[in-house]
Each structure stands twice: as structure tokens, then as C-alpha cells.
């Protein structure tokens, strides 16, 4: 292994595109998990010094393919060539040795270690730490100068922002002499400004001759930064094209296999009377830390209010206190009637009875019980409904199953089997079951958090249409999402949250991502 000091100097300058040598070539990679063919005969060529995007829906096999390249899984068939040489990658150690670095979607950092300790972990030079730490400190200083990767080497990971933690992951790879960097959904947790900074770093790395593979399901990122892009669908590579010669619409069609509406079609809102009034609402968490700081807002009938913000800025607490999961202080009025915030009518059951339906952010923990069947999940929260009771003692399970079947048909849940356990449905179909449960109760106010997180494009389109249809039926909707595109396209008004406060309210027609991004980062707007 060459020492970290030589990093960068040995990297070749960017070569002309035509005839540039290949950094990676995969030939006929196949991988099956039981009966599921995750990757099927995949071949791909990535030129050195380029940024190659891999795009596809959830479950298309992107992550499996990259896990094979990083030695996490062994392919059933196929060959991997690194720099033109046939290379076996049975484990991560071999991948690192072959010059591959990976930045996972969920960072692999030790929270209570310093940046330096994380960087040297597994790449120490000897039995004692002191020399390794000193060397890493020097190398990190060089790297941060070279690529704009500024991080305090002595900071603890748990004190760093998500964007900085990601830089540590990139530094880890570079410290290990990686020439090929794989990033798995890197912008999912970043603010727009942090994402822009990341893209600048990636471009800098590319200019130094590094090869970058970017896995994402966001078309905008592919168009913005990649040179070439491969599209995966159901375990197969459907196309590899030059980014300059394609369009988001074409890529979306390749991903899904049919034309999709990227823009949600909706008429202008016709807001009616005020449904929800929130005044000076505050929530403290179990450590007595104030998470929601005196928020005030109103939503009218026939209107979608979108809450934008980086995850963890009070949106979850807002949903929870409105949905009756958390307790708070302040005033909430629904159709002019004040709701109980701390007493015995402050629970989810009472809220549902008052006409507030809630599609929680964390589908798998708050929205469903994964081991229970679909028909049981359809009953949750509404199990006291009179039509589900046979008599005073017993529930009418037959009626419940029949009702579930109807809901499944209307919401196109696949497979339409009420007896199947929730965990056996895909993320999109799980979400459809929950949305069906909540929307079909015809609530006055729908709280919906991350409606399309982990949901494939086809289902996203469907769920978006249902939300708009509910609005057009004259209902009030509070939408919380970390996906700015979703907020922009669905909302009639956008409120941006930062640090438990609303920084401003914007009209989607007159704002843009930059404006919202600045408020999300807390640098613009005014705490209301």
C-alpha cells in the first residue's frame, strides 16, 4: 500500500473522453436472493475520470450491484475488471486494495470517535495509534486544501452536521487511496446548499482523475453532475446513455417502463373556510429540549400546506402533536373548536374522532404492524368503527376483510390479498394501504408525513393524485416532506421550518429552491 502522502500526486490528470481507459468494467453480473433475481446479466463500463450515474427505482438492484463491487456480496456469475485487470473482490478489504471507496447511504462512522480516529480505523500503520494519527492529520490537511473538504480533525462525529459527516466518509475513502468512489444516495440527508457543495467536491475529484459512481433516484442530480448514466429496472440494466444526449423525461420512462408525469397535475386551489388554526404551539422532547418553538399556522379547506425543511427541525413533532402522539403547549383549533393538548382527549383516538387523519412519517413503526395482515392493519385506529363490529363483544372480521379488499382495489394495492402480512408488501404498496385507511375516512384534516419515502415512482404518482383529489374534495392537508420537489409540486403554500420555528411562508409559484434552501439552512427568512 502506498502511503497516504502520495495521494493526489499519483492521480492521473483527466484524460480526453474519447478512448479514455476504463476504470471499471462489469461483465454479465448476476445475483439472486432465493427466488428474487436482484441483478440479471449486468454489464457496464465506466471511463476513468468520469462521473457515472446509476438511476433506478427502489428495489431496482442498484445497491446490490454496488455491494457486489464493494465485496459485500459475491456475484453468482460475471466478472469485475478494475483498470482493465480481472479482479476478484471477495470482501471489502479487497475492494479497498483495488482502489474502491464507498460512501454508504447510512454512514459507517463511530459517533463518539474523532474525525481522525474514524479516518484511520482499519487503515492504521502499526500497533500504536500515535504515528497513524499524526500521519492522518497531515494527509487530511493536504486533502482538505486540495478538494475543499474542510473538517476539524479533532471534532467528534456526533457533533458534526450530516454534511460534514459525509465529508468524513469521503475523506476515509481518499485516505485509503481510493481512485474509484461510489456514493449511494448521497444527497438524501443534505440541504440543497450542502448538496451543491458536495457536487463541487465531486467535480474537483473528477478533475483530479478520480472516477465517481453516483447512485440516486433523483433525476435532477443525474442531469446536473453526471457524464454518463445507466438506468436499472427490476434487476436489469435497461440503458446506458451520455447525460448530454438524454432528458429527465426519457430517463424516467426508462426507469419505470412507461411515461410518467413528473409534474403533478392540479387545478388552482380554491381555499374555503379555515379548518386548522395553530397558535404558539410548542413541544418538548423527553429530555425537556424544546423541539417545536411557538409555531403558528392556519390551513383552509381545499388547501395543501407543505412543510419544507431538513429532517429534524421540528416537522416530526408538529405532526405528532397534531396527531395526538405527543403533548404540547399552545392552542390548536379544528373548525373553530379548541383541541385538548394535554388531557385525556389528547390521544390519537380522540383526534381521529374529531376528523384528523394521520399518515405518519415512520410508516414501519407508527403506521403499521409489519407482522400483522393487511386487513388487521386497515382496522388500526378505526377498530371501534361501528361497521367493523359484529356485536358488543366481537369484531366482524369478515366485514373488515371485505372492506380491505375494496380499499385494495380502489388504491391498486398489489398483490390485492388482505391476508398477506404487511411486511410482504413493497414500500409503495404498504403506503397505499395506509393512505387508503386514512383518506377513506373522509377526514377534515389529513396529516401526511413523507408520503413517498421509499416508494417507487409509479406509486408516488398514485399517492400524489390521491392527495390532490382529497384537496379538491375540500379537505385541508398538512404535508411534511424532506423532498423539496414533492413540496414544490404538491403544495398550495409552503412553510419552511428550521430549528423548531417557521422561517417563512411562500407561494410555490413565486419561490425557487434557492430561496427555500436558504430558509431551510436558517440563514434567511424570519422566525415567525
Amino acid at each position: 500500500m502506498v502511503s497516504g502522502n502520495d495521494m493526489g500526486r499519483q492521480a492521473t490528470a483527466a484524460l480526453p473522453d474519447a478512448g479514455a481507459p476504463l476504470a471499471i468494467e462489469l461483465r454479465g453480473i448476476s445475483k439472486a436472493f432465493g427466488p428474487v433475481q436482484a441483478n440479471k446479466d449486468i454489464s457496464i463500463q465506466v471511463k476513468r475520470g468520469s462521473i457515472h450515474g446509476i438511476i433506478g427505482e427502489n428495489g431496482a438492484g442498484k445497491s446490490t450491484l454496488m455491494s457486489i463491487l464493494y465485496g459485500f456480496y459475491k456475484a453468482d456469475a460475471g466478472e469485475i475488471l478494475i483498470g482493465g485487470k480481472l479482479t476478484a473482490i471477495p470482501d471489502s478489504q479487497s475492494a479497498i486494495r483495488a482502489g474502491i471507496g464507498m460512501v454508504f447511504q447510512h454512514f459507517k462512522l463511530v459517533q463518539n470517535f474523532t474525525v481522525l480516529e474514524n479516518v484511520i480505523l482499519g487503515a492504521e500503520d502499526g500497533g500504536l495509534l500515535r504515528p497513524s494519527l499524526a500521519k492522518a492529520r497531515r494527509v487530511l490537511a493536504d486533502l482538505s486544501r486540495e478538494y475543499g473538504l474542510d473538517v476539524n480533525p479533532d471534532a467528534l462525529i456526533e457533533d458534526l452536521s450530516v454534511g460534514h459527516q459525509q465529508r468524513v466518509e469521503i475523506l476515509k475513502a481518499l485516505y485509503r487511496q481510493a481512485d474509484i468512489l461510489i456514493l449511494d444516495e448521497p444527497t438524501g440527508v443534505l440541504t440543497p446548499a450542502e448538496a451543491d457543495h458536495l457536487f463541487r467536491i465531486l467535480k474537483g475529484l473528477k478533475d483530479q482523475g478520480k472516477t465517481i459512481i453516483l447512485i440516486t433516484h433523483k433525476l435532477r442530480e443525474i442531469m446536473e453532475i453526471t457524464d454518463t448514466v445507466s438506468v436499472m429496472r427490476r434487476g436489469q440494466m435497461t440503458a446506458t446513455v451520455k447525460t448530454a444526449e438524454t432528458s429527465p423525461e426519457q430517463l424516467a420512462e426508462l426507469m419505470v417502463g412507461r411515461k410518467v408525469l413528473l409534474q403533478v397535475e392540479k387545478r388552482a386551489a380554491t381555499p374555503g373556510k379555515v379548518v386548522l388554526e395553530v397558535e404558539n404551539l410548542s413541544v418538548r422532547d423527553e429530555n425537556k429540549v424544546e423541539r417545536l418553538k411557538g409555531v403558528s399556522l392556519t390551513i383552509r379547506a381545499g388547501e395543501i400546506l407543505g412543510i419544507a425543511g431538513v429532517a429534524g427541525n421540528g416537522q416530526s413533532e408538529l405532526l405528532e402533536v397534531l396527531g395526538g402522539i405527543a403533548r404540547g403547549t399552545g392552542t390548536i383549533r379544528l373548525n373553530g373548536v379548541e383541541l385538548d393538548l394535554t388531557g385525556k382527549h389528547s390521544d390519537g383516538q380522540s383526534r381521529r374522532a374529531q376528523g384528523i387523519a394521520h399518515v405518519p412519517e415512520d410508516r414501519q413503526h407508527l403506521g403499521m404492524i409489519m407482522d400483522f395482515a393487511a386487513w388487521e392493519n386497515v382496522a388500526f385506529g378505526y377498530h371501534h368503527a361501528p361497521e367493523y363490529q359484529k356485536n358488543a363483544l366481537f369484531m366482524d372480521n369478515d366485514a373488515l376483510r371485505a372492506d380491505t379488499e375494496k380499499k385494495m382495489a380502489r388504491f391498486d394495492v398489489r398483490p390485492p390479498n388482505p391476508l398477506l402480512a404487511a411486511k410482504n408488501f413493497s414500500g409503495g404498496n404498504q403506503q397505499k394501504i395506509i393512505v387508503a385507511r386514512e383518506i377513506e375516512r373522509n377526514p377534515d384534516l389529513l396529516l401526511i408525513g413523507q408520503p413517498t419515502r421509499g416508494v417507487d415512482i409509479g406509486a408516488i404518482e398514485f399517492i400524489h393524485k390521491q392527495i390532490v383529489a382529497l384537496r379538491d374534495a375540500g379537505k385541508a392537508i398538512l404535508l411534511v416532506s424532506v423532498e423539496l420537489d414533492e413540496i414544490m409540486s404538491l403544495s398550495d403554500r409552503i412553510a419552511v421550518m428550521f430549528d423548531g420555528q417557521i422561517m417563512g411562508i411562500r407561494d410555490p409559484a413565486t419561490t425557487d429552491e434557492r430561496d427555500l434552501g436558504l430558509m431551510m439552512a436558517g440563514v434567511a427568512g424570519k422566525a415567525a
Binding site: S63, F72, S92, V110, N112, F113, L121, G127, L128, L129
Partner: protein, 322 residues
Amino acid sequence: MDYATLLQILDSTLRLATPLLLACLAGLFSERAGIFDIGLEGKMLMAAMASGAVAALSGSVWLGLCAGIGASLVLAALHGIASITFRGNQLIAGVALNFVASGVTVLIAQRMFGQGGRTPPLTGDARFNPLTLPFAEELRGVPVLGPLYAEVISGHSILVYLALALVPLSWWVLYRTRFGLRLRAVGENPASVDTAGVSVVALRYAAVAITGVLCGLAGAYMATALQAGFGREMTAGRGYIALAALIFAKWRPWAALWATLLFGFFQALALRPDVVEAVLRFKVPVPALDALPYVLTVLVLAGFVGKAIPPRAGGQPYVKER
């Protein structure tokens, strides 16, 4: 209470704290690597029996010590196989081993010696005898410090001094070596170690093996130094007190020393209720003194004395995820 009594109590504090300290450090290595070990008690008990038996048969305390470490390592290996290789529930594996040790030790001792589950009393070289440190007698005349040195510091078996030396050594290994860095990482976020190309399984087995050796020392100390031979259930919950001390010390070596000395002090007081009564001027029941370590640990866990945050991956088997 006069100075001589205080010295006596401090002397027994050190003697009683030693098995706690060894077991606490044993637990520290295991838990820092993410393997909870409630089976410290069982390992100590097994080591006490094996060392007592072998020392009695061979007449050599060193052979006894080796046998104790070996027996403890066998249980540690079983714990490792159950919780690392087969990803079983670490607490249940530990509890099971405690039960095994509790029964098997008496069974073997009874079968071998037929003395009601005890091993024969050890004498001479079959036991760790007190060492007199240099100048202990000469300095006895120095006021205050002289008797302290002669009575409290000097006059213990070699295992006491070894246990004390293990504190800085453990600190150094954990915080200054590559092995320590990886060990702490594997207890916090094993995925970070795995993606760095280092074996999670090997690291955790290494940690469990260290735990085995240290519990072996603790058990052997019980049977061959603190007392002269093995007796039924002779560890008397020390493995659990060591776990309590580990939480009290927030999984740090130096704090482990202070915590076990404190708990050892309580045990020393429990041996001298007359002194406690004389100082406090009312009678404190011995069980109340025995319970003090647990009461303190509950206070720590409840967050009254700072916050005890266990290693984040503790108790969870590592399953590689995508």
C-alpha cells in the same frame, strides 16, 4: 475509630476490591466490544473451582492459576460461540452459563474430593501468599504514612498488584493501540469496522477471550489468595457487583478502579458492623451495607450521578446489511 482500625478496613478494602476489579475489567473488554456478559459470575466460579482443585492436587498455585484461566476461557468460548457465531441473545447465554457453572463446580468438586462440594484447604505453595514490599518494616516507624504503607499497600498477594497494574495497562490498550481503537469501534458501530475491511467476528472473539483470562484471574484469586480453597457459590454475586461497578464506572478503566475500590470498601464495612455502628452511632443492618453497591448503581442508571451511556452496539449481534 482509631487509625489502626481504619488501616484494617482499608487493607480488607483492597483485598476485597481485587476480584471485583479483575471481573470489572473483564466485563469492560467484552462490553466495549459490544458483547454484554452477565456471565462474569459463572466464569469466576468455574475458575475458582478449577484453580482450587488443581492447586490442591498438584501443590502448585501457578498450575492452579493456569487451570482457572483455562476453565474460564472454556466458558468464554461458549459465550462467544452462542453470541457471536450464532448471534444468540447475549443475556440469556450469560445466564445459562451462570447456572451451568453453579451446578458443575459443586458436582466436580464433590466427585473429586467428596468434601461436600469443597476443595481441600490449600497450604504453602498451593496458595498465593502475601508479599512484603521492600522497606515495609523499616518504614513502619514513619508517622501516618509508614503504617499505611506497611499495613495497606504492602502484604498482599501478587494478584492484587497485578490487578492494580492492569488498570493503566487496559487504559493504554484501549486508547493508545490499534487493537483498542478497533475494539471500541466494534462496540459502537460494527458496520464501520466491517466496511473498513476488518473482521468484526475476530475482534469480538478476541475481546471475549480477554474477558475469559481476566475472569480466570479473578476466580483463581478467590480460591487461592483471598481464601484457601474453593467452596460452593464462593463468588457470592461478585460477578454482578462487578457489572454494577462497570456501569458505575461508565465503561472506563480508571473509573473502574475507583468504583471497585468503593464497592470493596462497602464489603469491608459489612465485615465490621461494629465499626459502622461506632461511627454512625446507630446500628446499620449488614444487608443494607451489602445492598449499597446496587443502590448506587440504580442511582447512576436513573441518571442521578451523570449519565451512563453503554456502548451503542452492545447486546446486538452483528448482521451485515446492505
